[in-house]
Symmetry: C2
Subunit: 222 residues, 2 copies
């Protein structure tokens, strides 16, 4: 399956691209607003995969080009860019494509990070509101620590929560997630349940901050 | 140490009372607005502990009496009762007592359970606002499934998050929590970080609901 990771030059995008290219047979393209930047980063990722003896590559392209070719489009961009990004690629999406939203809104004060719930209800809801008719939206990958994901020597052994109102799309994304070794996908219901999932990200950062020896935390439901 | 579990006749109170009595040497008293109800439940718990060959008992008393004798007072009451309960026991508290808040606000719609953030910011904050001067407030035990906690045959192997603005009180509650076999206490910072912790409860319910074979879920940070 063809996967586009928009914002694939950023932290979480890098981790997803490397893990999916390493552990699955999907064709991974990272997207950026700047095609040259995407291509340069894609070469870096491919070099890293090659250095590990993995016969896997990552391609790079401008966001709209990457999205046009893909069946699953991951919006690994900051939360304040998701709306614009979906609008920019809207014409490139087919009705059976799936948009994946891993972003979360956070604000920081002296106590730590806090979930900054968007007026729309959640970042996933912003994506759903901006998505063209017929394009399914699934929230996933929120609670993955970028540095740990991007370090292929790091074991995962953690869960990711998948939310969405289209059961087929949710199954597609859950299968994609479970292609990553050590990652289990759990169904957390519909998009209305997104706020509690998006709020995990600041929680994980706070817990890691306050406990010696815990870094790049993930969650396991047990 | 003397521990009072107000609302100890309810689900989460029962689990905490049984586990603490079973696994630690603390003196556990469950409180209720109705002394007779507390005593009857305490006898039930003691009978259960006895049937397991455990030489441990639980006492029962009216809330204020239980709180007066205790160093740590757990408010295992519904979120809309925490303010009233703290007011009712305020005169029974000493300045070095610790109030523990495990409650969370939830609302339910057709999609599942959602965190219902109180106007004060969190349930833990409501308790802190109502607490007499000098009495420290710690949030803990939010993310424990009551049925699993109350079933002494069930393994835990899970974490609980501890929040508070008084480090000594937080350490006291973390030590108390870790007296329960299979429970690890992690520091999640100050009371300002409570909303993300309290939001775990509806999330755990939703995840259990949507995944076959997962019930009475806990969380492990890893």
């Amino acid at each position: 399956m063809k996967i586009a990771i928009l914002g694939g030059t950023g932290d979480i995008g890098q981790g997803l691209a490397l893990r999916l290219a390493s552990d699955t047979r999907h064709e991974i393209t990272i997207g950026s607003r700047d095609a040259e930047k995407a291509e340069t980063k894609a070469e870096e990722y491919t070099t890293e995969l090659d250095s590990r003896g993995l016969d896997a590559g990552v391609a790079g392209a401008e966001n709209e080009v990457a999205a046009a070719a893909a069946r699953v489009v991951v919006l690994a961009v900051p939360p304040y860019h998701v709306g614009d990004t979906v609008e920019a690629i809207a014409d490139a999406l087919d009705p059976d494509d799936v948009l994946v939203s891993p972003a979360t809104g956070m604000k920081r004060d002296e106590e730590g990070f806090h979930y900054h719930k968007p007026g729309a209800g959640s970042v996933t809801r912003i994506v759903a509101d901006a998505a063209p008719d017929g394009v399914a939206v699934v929230g996933a990958f929120h609670n993955l620590a970028a540095a740990r994901l991007a370090n292929l020597d790091a074991d995962l052994g953690i869960d990711t929560l998948v939310i969405g109102d289209d059961e087929d799309a949710k199954r597609t994304v859950a299968d994609l997630a479970e292609g990553i070794e050590g990652l289990r996908a759990l169904d957390a219901g519909g998009i209305a349940n997104a706020p509690e999932i998006e709020a995990l990200t600041p929680l994980l950062i706070n817990v890691a901050h306050h406990n010696d020896g815990l870094n790049d935390l993930g969650i396991r439901f047990t």
